[in-house]
Every structure is written in structure tokens, then in C-alpha cells.
Amino acid sequence: MALVADTPKESFRLGMLIYDTRYRSITIQIIVMVLFLLGLWWLLDNLFSNLATRGKDLSFSFLWNRAGYDINQTLIPYTNDDTHFRAMLVGLVNTILVAVLGCVAATVIGVMVGVLRLSKNWLVSKLMTVYVEMFRNVPVLLWILVAFAVFTEITPAPRDFKVTDEMVAAGVEPAASMVLFDSVAITNRGTFIPKALYERSLGEVIIGFLPISLNTIAVLAVLIGSAMGYRAIKRHATAVQEATGIRPKTWWKSLLTLVGPIVALLFALGFHLEIPTLGGFNFSGGTLVSNSLMALWLGLTLYTAAFIAEIVRAGIMAISKGQTEASYALGLRPGRTMSLVVLPQALRVIIPPLISQYLNLTKNSSLAIAVSYMDLRGTLGGITLNQTGRELESMLLLMLIYLALSLMISSAMNVYNNAVKLKER
């Protein structure tokens, strides 16, 4: 008589919560959850009791009060009668302005330096190495401060541009002169650049709270249209090439599509530049770009460009020599080898770190505080915070906006990264 013994029924023991891998992760997660909630509760409890003892509440209504301070550099209309919210927007736009300018300039300089550092020319590659090492290994704050000192201490005062009759008679040159075909004046009061003006306006639309000129929208629309037309021409040329083997000449069509419409539109709108002119003791006309913006831009650009140069260099070096040789063997010229073989592959290596450099630049733009450029931190996290005494709300909002900005940049770049990524399997 054979008794078939059941496998012993597993009874649950308390120790299994820790020693059985089936339950352990749940135990740990529960402990972590409890600790996290306890910590959160502790912080919030402290927060509310502190707020209560200080007689404060958590409210964002201060944003709708009158700001009462001036901002020297604004892209959107603002007076000191506007609300704190409006001041915050001015700051946000200023942050975005310097971030965009910085990213563009840093990319241009960084790519140039990175390519030149790989050059066979000994002198140039050594110069670029010195540049990269010098800018990478010193705090960005120093470069911003140095750039600011250059703009405020070394650049000439507006009166140095003055040409008097006596000077003309004596043949003496003025102490300073304008650059770029006498259109830009770099002075210690700021940089004066030409202003784009239209004789005829199509009117304005108000989107939310921002008045936007229809002229700008028209110009943008035409530019986008031209670009799409250009792509269509290229696509057509490729189709013809694939069908017949002969690529039709398209350069004059492309040129006409790209240049024609915009020139016609600008002519129709009566586009002209207002050149800054010296009158009395200061320049008038044109747009004044404050020294703080110029210094911040220059400092951030040069610093970030050094990092981008390294990224570009590493990206190009990561493409094996065999790729270049193979494309030469196929009979491609060096220019087309670069654009069709090396760069598309190098871009995949370059783009992810490039994204984080753009993010870094955007976040470093908060160093504007050092040169009193009124960016988001200067308005919302600076004067608004001090005037209203709403530290908690201001800092919370500030962090959230920066976070949103960062996430937006990184997701936009990730979309691009996915588009150029190597498609495998």
C-alpha cells in the first residue's frame, strides 16, 4: 500500500517577507512608501505650522498685483503698472531669448572649433585645444563677469564716436567707430543694433496678452512656405534621378523659391533698417541691447561652445576610418563623403550630449543675476519675491517653469534624436 504523500503545504511565515524573493520586493516597497510618506508628512506638517506662525497663507494671488518696478530689457510691452504675472512673463521671454541666442551661437562656434581641432594644421588645432581647455576648466560665472567687464570697462563711451568739424579739419580719427558697415555701435552703455521697420503694416493680432504684428507672421509664413517649396523641388529632382538616372539642374529654381518670395514680400511691406545714429551724448534710433544681455550671451556662448566642440570632435572621431575609405572607394568626393556618410552617423553620437549642453546653457542663463539681466530669476525670483515676501510661491513657480522649460527642450530634441537614430531590428 503506497501512500502518496502530498508535498508539504507551504505555510506562510513572517520571515518570508524578507527572505523570499517573491515577497521581498513588496516588503521593501512598502517600507520605502511608508518612509517616504512619513517624510513628506513631516515636511508638510512643518511647512503649515511655520506658515501659521508667520501668519502667511499659500496663495498665488500676488501675481495679479501691480509690480511697480521697471525692466530695462523687454521684448513684450511692459510698464511698471503691469502685474507681477506680466513681469514674470517678461522675465521668461528674456530667459528664452538668451537661451536661444546662446544655443545658436554656441552650436555654430562649437562645431567650427570641434572641426578645426581635428584639422591637420598643427597651429590651428593647438589654438583650438587651448581655447577648449581654457573655457572648460574655469567657472562659467567667471566668463560672464569677464565679458561684462569687457563690455562696461573697455568699450568706448558714446561720445568717443563723435566726429567734430575740428577733427575733420585736423584729419584726426574719432576714438571709436561703428562696426559692420557703420550699422552697429558697441558702447559702454549697451550695443546699438539696427532695427527692422516696415513702412506698411498689415495690422496686429493679440494672442492671449501678446500683441504680435501681422507683418512678422507674414514673413514667417513666407519663409516656411519657401522652405517647403525648396524641399518639394529637391524631392522631385530625386524622383527624376531615380527614374532616369540624370539629376536635373535645380539650383536656379531653388534660389528663386528661397529668395524670391521673401524679397518680394519685404519690398511690398516697405522693409528698411533703422540705423542707430549719434545725437548729442548718446545714440538714438535702432535697438539697444543692454550690456548685461551681451555679456551673458557672450559668456554662456563661449563656455558652452567649448563643451560642444568636444562633443563634435568625439562624434566625428567615433566614425571609423573605414567608412570614409569605403565612400572614397565608391567614388564620392570629400564634400559628399562628409555630408552623406560621416555626418549622418556622427550626428547620432553628437545629438544626445548636445541636448544636455542646451539644457545646461538654459539653466546657466539663471546666472544673469551676476550681471543684473532681468531674466525669469531676476523678475519672479528676484524683485517680485523681495517685494511681496512670497518666497515659497515664487520659488515654487520658478522651479516649475524651469522644469517645464527643460522638459520641453529635452523632449523636442529627443523627437529629433529618434528621427535620426539608427533603425535596428
Binding site: Y19, N121, N137, V140, A149, M395, L398, M399, Y402, L407
Partner: protein, 491 residues
């Protein structure tokens, strides 16, 4: 035969000609120039442009450097000297400012009678780093340690303080004792690396020695609890018990014990150092304090965060991802402002803790998030087979991480980690915005605010920039050295 051959061949060479010198264009400096500077039209243009740039920069800056004045008491005096030596209207650097304000750049407003303390802390740091950075015996290391010892003795003699010697004697004694118990040099110094943070805290801020001692005692309490409880209830519960024991020690026992011991020992030298407040810190002492503590804490924290982000446990992973992405999404300045303005809101009413400590916490959190991402990259680069091999060997999670995964992942991520460290060290300059005197802007502004040095711009920037450059550049070179040393595959 040779006669026969002799009349048929008119001429037979019987000696080798010396080789011709290569053409002048293909040898020596000219060849190098042709190949490296003028290999084509574009390169020639670039070379000329480069030369012009160098010439322009030299013309701009060289006279200024050469006219530098090292002995003067004010900027006005400097300008007088330059005008007297090089003629009216000549420009020149006024390095005399660095001479005069050297101590301020290094120590901020640290009391000058106590300068030996940060110096001693820095010297002892080298001792503490020895077992961390090097694991093999070497004569060079012995030599370096001997040099540090001599410097400590000199510091002692120079300042008339016997405390540095006392500390050195204790270190030597304990190290020899540990060495005699079978630990080899330099690993027998490891105990000192663990004690060093408390010692450095005491040296820098002063006050009673019992506070750091009691804090350290918490770790010992935890260790003992772990040792006792493990055989009784197993490792995991014992770990929790140990953490609780240490926590109770710090929360309940450490404070009264410190007070009692401090009252007993009184305010005498070996137990009490003059208290230095945080607002007296400044210059490179501040930068080093924040930078080094940040580096030391952020690496382990970054590893933990990276592991948490890779974890299978959903909750742990979510918390780590949220933390990392939040910290990486906001600028450091906002975190520093949070530390200075908001932290009091989140702490029990009435608590107010040190501003430098708050800044260190924020800088560390910031850096840890970046390091976590770097290490995550290293973990992702590791072939899947390594994890599977570790599982196949039957290693548990922590053993697999410690013995298989981390050594390789960390090796891959060395360049990234070191550049995070460099970034952290550079970011210590941002503390100026929460009213601490960093060397770059804080001290420079303080110098410029004085009547003698009003209007001095470039010299302090160049000086501070040069020091930052030297430190950061050597860090990056060390990482390259380490990378080469640890490289296993030969390609």
C-alpha cells in the same frame, strides 16, 4: 674569370655611395612646416589667420603682463610705478593686489590666528585620500606621506601649536597598531579616512571636540548593534535594528553626552578649538570645503540613485526617476535659493542650521543626480551577459553589484564622473548668490570695495581663474590617467 669580366665591364663600383640628403623641401623643419602648417591653400590661410590672432592677442595683453607691478599698497601706487617705469599712458597689471590680499583669497575672513587649522585639514586630507586612491604599496606614496608629515611638523612649529603634532602621533600610533594586526600599508590608514570627516569638521568650525566624537560614536553604536543582532535575527532585520539604534543614539544620547563631556573637559586646547562661524569662511577654504564634501557624498549617493533607477521595484524606480529629473531640470541657483530662503519653512519651527551645511546638502543633491545619470550610462553599457553570469554564479543582488557590475560600470563612467566633479567644483562659485564669500565674486567684490583696490578688474579674475584652471585641469588629466590604467582590453 675576373680578368675575363674586367674587359667586358668598363666600370664596376666597389664601394657604396653615401646616401643623398633628402631634398630641402622634404626634410627637417621645412618638411614639418609644409606638412603641418602649409599643406594646402586653406591650411595656409588658416595658419596665417592663427598667427594673426596670436599676434593680436599678444600685442593686446603682453605689455600689460610685462608691466606688472608686484610691490605696491594700492591701485594708485601701482599706476604711479607703471607710469614712472614705462611712461605716461602705459598699462600694466597690478599683481600687488594678490600679494596683499593673498590671505583673503585663500581664507576669506577666517581669523588669521587660526589659519593653521584649514591648512592642517588640507594636509590631513592627503593622508585620508591615500588609501582611497591607491591600493598598492609604493615608495612614492610613502615619500608623499612623509612630506605631509614634515609639513605638519613645520605647521606645528611655525604656529607654536602642538595640536598638529599630537594628531600626527595619534594617527601614526593607531596606523601602526592596525598594521600590526595584519592590514597592509596603505590600507591600514583606512580607519583615518573614515574618521577624517569628523576631524575636518572640528578643525574647520572649532568648538568642542565631543560633538564630532559623539556623532562618530553613533556609527560605532550602529556597528555594534549590527554585530550583536545579526546572529540572533538575521542580516536584514539586524540592519534595520542597527539603523534604529544609531538613530536613537543621535537623537537622544548624543546631545546630552556632548554637553556633559564638554562641561567636564572645559575650554582647553585639545578638547576645544576657537569656534569659527560660517560667515567667516570664504575664499578657497570655502570652495574646497563645499566642493570636497560634495564630491565625497555625491558619489555614493549617485550610485544608489542609479541603482534605484535601474531597479525592478516600481515605487523605488519612480521615486528615483522623479528625484533625478527634478534636480536636473532646475538650475543650481534655484536650489541654493531654496536652501537659503525656504529650508526654514520645511524644518521644525525654531531650528536654524548652518548655511554652509545647507549649501553642501544642495550642491550634493545636485551633483548626485548628474552622477546617477552618468553611472546609469555605465550600467547600460555593460553587456547583459555580465548580469546573467553573476546570477549563474548564485551571487545575490548586492554581491553581484559589488563584485561584478559596479567595478565595470564605474570604470566605464570614470570620465563622466570626473567631469561631474569638475562641474561641482566650478559650481561652488555660485554660493556667492546666497551671501557666502566665494573666491571668484565674493572675495573679489570685497577687495574691490576697499578704497585701495577700487577699480581693479582683470587681476583678481585672472588669479582666481588660474587657480580654478589648475585644479580642474589636473582633475581631468588624472581621470585620463586612471582611464588608461584601468583599461583592460587591448585594442
Amino acid at each position: 674569370m675576373s680578368d675575363l669580366h674586367a674587359h667586358s665591364a668598363r666600370y664596376v663600383r666597389d664601394s657604396m655611395l653615401p646616401p643623398e640628403a633628402p631634398p630641402a623641401l622634404e626634410s627637417g623643419a621645412i618638411k614639418w612646416l609644409r606638412e603641418n602648417l602649409f599643406s594646402g591653400l586653406l591650411n595656409s590661410i588658416l595658419t596665417v589667420l592663427g598667427l594673426l590672432t596670436i599676434a593680436y592677442l599678444l600685442k593686446l595683453a603682453l605689455p600689460w603682463f610685462l608691466h606688472g607691478v608686484w610691490n605696491a599698497n594700492s591701485l594708485g601706487e601701482c599706476r604711479q610705478v607703471i607710469a614712472a617705469n614705462w611712461g605716461e599712458g602705459a598699462h600694466g597689471a597690478c599683481w600687488a593686489m594678490i600679494r596683499e590680499r593673498w590671505n583673503q583669497f585663500l581664507f576669506g575672513f577666517y581669523p588669521s590666528s587660526e589659519y593653521w587649522r584649514p591648512i592642517l585639514a588640507l594636509l590631513l586630507l592627503f593622508l585620508a585620500l591615500a588609501p582611497v586612491l591607491f591600493d598598492e604599496m609604493s615608495k612614492k606614496l610613502m615619500g608623499a606621506v612623509a612630506v605631509v608629515g614634515v609639513l605638519v611638523l613645520w605647521l606645528s612649529a611655525y604656529n607654536g601649536q602642538w595640536l598638529p603634532v599630537g594628531i600626527l602621533v595619534i594617527i601614526a600610533g593607531v596606523t601602526a597598531f592596525v598594521g600590526s594586526r595584519g592590514r597592509h600599508w596603505p590600507q591600514n590608514l583606512m580607519w583615518f579616512s573614515l574618521v577624517f570627516p569628523a576631524l575636518a569638521f572640528w578643525l574647520l568650525w572649532g568648538g568642542t571636540i565631543w560633538l564630532p566624537v559623539m556623532v562618530m560614536a553613533g556609527f560605532i553604536v550602529g556597528g555594534i548593534a549590527l554585530r550583536i543582532a545579526t546572529p540572533m535575527i538575521g542580516l536584514m532585520p539586524a540592519l534595520a535594528f542597527a539603523v534604529l539604534a544609531a538613530f536613537f543614539w543621535w537623537y537622544f544620547a548624543a546631545g546630552p553626552a556632548t554637553d556633559a563631556l564638554a562641561a567636564m573637559s572645559g575650554r582647553n586646547q585639545p578638547f576645544w578649538l576657537r569656534r569659527v562661524n560660517s560667515d567667516e569662511f570664504g575664499g578657497f577654504v570655502l570652495a574646497f570645503t563645499i566642493g570636497l564634501s560634495g564630491i565625497a557624498i555625491s558619489l555614493p549617493m549617485g550610485i544608489v540613485l542609479a541603482l534605484g533607477r535601474q531597479s525592478d521595484m516600481l515605487l523605488v524606480k519612480a521615486l528615483c526617476v522623479g528625484f533625478i529629473e527634478f534636480i536636473r531640470g532646475v538650475p543650481l541657483i534655484t536650489l541654493l535659493f531654496t536652501a537659503s530662503l525656504l529650508l526654514n519653512y520645511f524644518l521644525p519651527p525654531g531650528t536654524n542650521f548652518d548655511i554652509i551645511l545647507r549649501v553642501i546638502i544642495m550642491v550634493t543633491l545636485f551633483s548626485a543626480a548628474y552622477i546617477a545619470e552618468v553611472i546609469r550610462g555605465g550600467l547600460a553599457a555593460l553587456p547583459r551577459g555580465q548580469y546573467e553570469a553573476a546570477d549563474a554564479l548564485g551571487l545575490d543582488y548586492w554581491k553581484a553589484q559589488r563584485l561584478i557590475v559596479m567595478p565595470q560600470a564605474l570604470k566605464i563612467s570614470i570620465p563622466g564622473i570626473v567631469s561631474s566633479f569638475i562641474g561641482l567644483f566650478k559650481d561652488t562659485t555660485l554660493v556667492v548668490f546666497v551671501a557666502l564669500l566665494d573666491p571668484l565674486k565674493g572675495i573679489t567684490d570685497a577687495v574691490r570695495a576697499s578704497i585701495q583696490w577700487k577699480g581693479i578688474y582683470w587681476e583678481p579674475y585672472i588669479f582666481v581663474g588660474a587657480i580654478f584652471f589648475i585644479i580642474c585641469f589636473s582633475m581631468s588629466r588624472y581621470s585620463m590617467f586612471l582611464e588608461n590604467k584601468l583599461k583592460r582590453e587591448h585594442r
